[in-house]
């Protein structure tokens, strides 16, 4: 199984999913153009949900790139974990649209926040599954990937799933706080020094 072609396919899927996010912001109805300013301002939750999901998918892409750079090769099992992971990534525009629209309309906000958080949790579980498939017994890891780093990464991936599960609880308290919580989680993964350290060891045999 050709690793670089699976990477290219995954890159394509990430690029398209992140771009389809723009379709999640509902166009004003024709009748709404007489009060267009109000219509556009009322869509700020959709814009916020767009920005959060955009950051989430962009950082996930970076994460995907880092994980694959540590793999020596890929097997059928990893291909299917990757396919399940992509299935949850591609799905993200749907709960994003629902979340933004619920906040705009002021109805179903709690349900929408729980839905969004649940999708993110399933996505985090797929990441954990992919990582565990690749790393348990060092099945697919490069020889130069440090053993100490392996434990840290496993801790980070499973811990991420717990944080996302926690976001479902936050969704039950307040939908706006929940959206902000997802934004903070994305920034945490963006600036997290541990994954940065992981990246520094990238491609450097000891």
């Amino acid at each position: 199984m050709n690793k670089s072609r699976v990477e290219a396919f995954s890159d394509g899927v990430f690029a398209i999913a992140i771009t389809l996010l723009v379709l999640t912001i509902a166009q004003p109805a024709a009748s709404g153009y007489t009060e267009l300013r109000r219509q556009l301002l009322a869509r700020w939750p959709s814009l916020a949900a767009y920005a959060v999901s955009f950051l989430v998918i962009g950082i996930m892409w970076l994460n995907h790139h880092t994980v694959f750079s540590h793999l020596e090769r890929i097997d059928r099992g990893l291909f299917y974990w990757n396919l399940l992971l992509l299935m949850t990534v591609v799905f993200i525009p749907y709960p994003t649209a629902v979340f933004g629209e619920a906040l705009r309309l002021g109805h179903g906000t709690q349900t929408a926040a729980v839905f969004y958080s649940a999708v993110m949790t399933v996505n985090a579980l797929m990441w954990s599954g992919l990582w565990l498939h690749a790393s348990v017994g060092r099945r697919l890891l490069r020889p130069e990937f440090p053993e100490s780093q392996r434990a840290v990464s496993t801790y980070l991936f499973t811990g991420g799933s717990l944080l996302y599960a926690l976001s479902i609880g936050v969704a039950l308290l307040n939908a706006y706080v929940c959206l902000a919580f997802h934004g903070v989680l994305a920034l945490y993964y963006a600036f997290d020094p541990i994954s940065r350290r992981l990246e520094h060891s990238e491609g450097q045999p000891p």
Copy 2:
């Protein structure tokens, strides 16, 4: 004709078609947000159809990759078979959307299941055509591709068309069973040991 550029074009089309599947799940109408939980739960058939079609296209992509790895070169004929194949792949989101919506509404379910199965059957026929064009008289196969494997593959591709034709019959019995049948067919192709054996011989001259 440059083989790797045709592969890259096909990869792009597969990646986009699989991502557009997310648009097949209908957004709730604005009036539906007062009962959003019920609206979302009622969409489980659309979600199931999304998951099945996602697996189908993902596994087809893998299959495409395997077949092309056994080709020495491509000609105009193969280009057109590939274009017809892609035409049916790109079309898949349409019957997927119709199938999910019919199951949600409880109307037209049999018609939708037959339509979905017929599209998949035409797709399987395009696969057979592409394979036969490439393999009859070993027209485009690599010299190291084993002759014994060629007969097995031809049997698998034409047999696949029959299985998909059979799914039209299943659609006439029950639409839900038909959707599950397509999921099982996808899993069969995912775990089928014969195509795995095919892959193992990939790129290894005897």
Copy 3:
């Protein structure tokens, strides 16, 4: 200006435009599912328009690939001709959707056929412009591209524009014949022995 990156960008645009064609076939309204078979059968013109436009874009992609393989390098002028060409390729799903829908509804068929043909004519003019920019005075052609072939290609590109202009006349006579005419034109370009000869000389210095 990096030629291979412009090719990759163009390939991506072709792949996405061809895939977006599936969105041109209107989904049945929720109320239409009680008579789904009739609804789907009534959409055959949209399906035919989808198939014709799919072939047109697929063959254009092949054409693009062939033309670029004869270029030694690209300049800013070619980049802008290519951008204008892509602007007309990306637009094709719009008249395709209008054409299919007009034929289904039985209203505005002549207007839709003229619109579709006019867009194809503008597209053919962009092809001519791109070719003339590259070939006049052999500005960007590879040295090994035969001078005799250059005249033939110029004749084919400008002749193609005339054929597409003729399709506007056919549109005024009958919309169905016009759609079939576009299908035949696509097949003509697919099987045309001259462009095949052009391809055979590809990359082969004399």
Copy 4:
């Protein structure tokens, strides 16, 4: 961090965003097909907005390609500036659709023009941020990139932000003039001799 994979991801996002622009032109309603010619002619502002945004994104892609060709390497900071830049590029189809629709309906035209111009201004600011991150102290620039050129480029990027901010003022005067102003700005960047000079020095060590 792998520079070429970030470039490929960005290329993909540009290619998809430019192609999604076709979805910004509203399809006529089924009832509109009895007067299809009038319906299509009334959409000329959407077509004009499509053309302007297409040129803008296409030229931005070229610009992106030129800037990245001058970078020695990329770091996390540049990755995030690039992600913010792409977030504004992907968003462009939304204000494009609103702008075209407002001009067609004759309502909310000023708001739509201000909205479109504001999005372009934010986009220009992201370009400035990305450039400053890469060039201040020559952080990521290739050694052969001339110091004199660096000042010129910084001036061009920040000046571009001011021009786009000026377009908000134009939007307050007249929406049609504003759209034309954006078209002229795109052409200015397309033919600007300074960025062409920048390109000529590309990859040529002194």
